[in-house]
Symmetry: C2
Subunit: 199 residues, 2 copies
């Protein structure tokens, strides 16, 4: 049973404090940072008692893992649904950058939760780091499929290049002085895409 199946199994349980906790914790961890958010602060901000937290999760890190699973699901669902709206595969690939642009424009935008998780848990063997890497791998698989559908001669390479631009745009949007990282990324993606689809 992969971790995705595990998440589906958990979702069969009816809405509960557990779900509420994960949802709220996601927002706070994203805004403040994982280590920088203590469990007392989390209890105060979520309105959920520490006892309840530790009833549902055996440790803070287990809670973080649940948060990452939720974020992975919602992010990939939203992103690929938004891309699908663009119609044909080629347009979908470029629409990823429109989706990024919309995300960057939100007041709560603060980079990518998985980049944050990997930064705060830098050991690749740590479960939190590993789960962040898994999110990126799933992203790649989905994008590779669309690149193949778009008729790329080398869907792997194209997907990889587009993801580089995606990650670069996220970091730059969080850290740079650039006016339109998503637009810059889209422009570069257009060039790379044209080269990848030329016969």
């Amino acid at each position: 049973m992969s971790y995705t199946d595990q998440y589906i199994k958990e979702a069969e349980v009816r809405p509960s404090k557990r779900d509420e906790l994960v949802r709220k914790a996601l927002e706070i961890f994203y805004r403040e940072g994982f280590h920088a958010t203590g469990m007392d602060l989390l209890a105060a901000e979520t309105g959920i008692s520490k006892t309840t937290m530790f009833k549902h999760f055996s440790s803070k890190e287990e809670l973080i893992l649940a948060v990452l699973r939720l974020r992975d699901q919602e992010f990939r669902n939203c992103l690929f649904r938004r891309m699908e709206q663009a119609g044909r595969p080629r347009a979908q690939l470029l629409a990823m950058f429109d989706a990024l642009s919309e995300w960057f424009g939100r007041p709560e935008f603060r980079s990518c939760m998985f980049i944050k998780a990997a930064s705060e848990y830098p050991d690749p063997r740590h479960p939190i780091h590993a789960q962040s890497a898994e999110h990126k791998r799933l992203l790649f698989l989905q994008l590779q499929k669309i690149a193949a559908d778009a008729g790329a001669r080398d869907p792997d390479a194209l997907a990889r290049a587009l993801l580089l631009l995606k990650e670069g745009a996220i970091v730059t949007a969080h850290l740079g002085h650039e006016a339109d990282p998503a637009g810059d990324a889209k422009a570069a993606a257009s060039i790379v895409l044209a080269a990848a689809l030329d016969s």
Copy 2:
């Protein structure tokens, strides 16, 4: 007096425990994380007493700022020196990705310290976050100049695109399953560069 001038002024003071501390702290913060490294642990790992640390820096965050300044200097110096070795401006731009590839292959590689700092101090107004952003801005300025020297029609846009690929490659190298993020980025950069230099 900009922060760069401030750093130069500090460097006029002769080698000291202070410099040793900053150098060693850089390694430990980079490996373990900022919040995850307490001052007791830092003292134990650096062999420098907490009293001495607090004699030279009024707070942990001031130490972190000094660490970031050092890292900024050494990173940009090394990167641009490495690029210069490639000769002509166009080759220099592509050599950035060779430099990245060499960096990624080092056992101590764990992403970019400034991405880490921004992740752990996500508020753009925080001095640590602001200094990380400044590092990226200085990088951009230097790259823009080389792009202009290479004859790009729009040096700004080219520099921005190349930096997107650079940041994407760093994140991917730290988080992805890809075999050669720097190589992928270089391939994409070649395509973008060709388009940018075409008359």
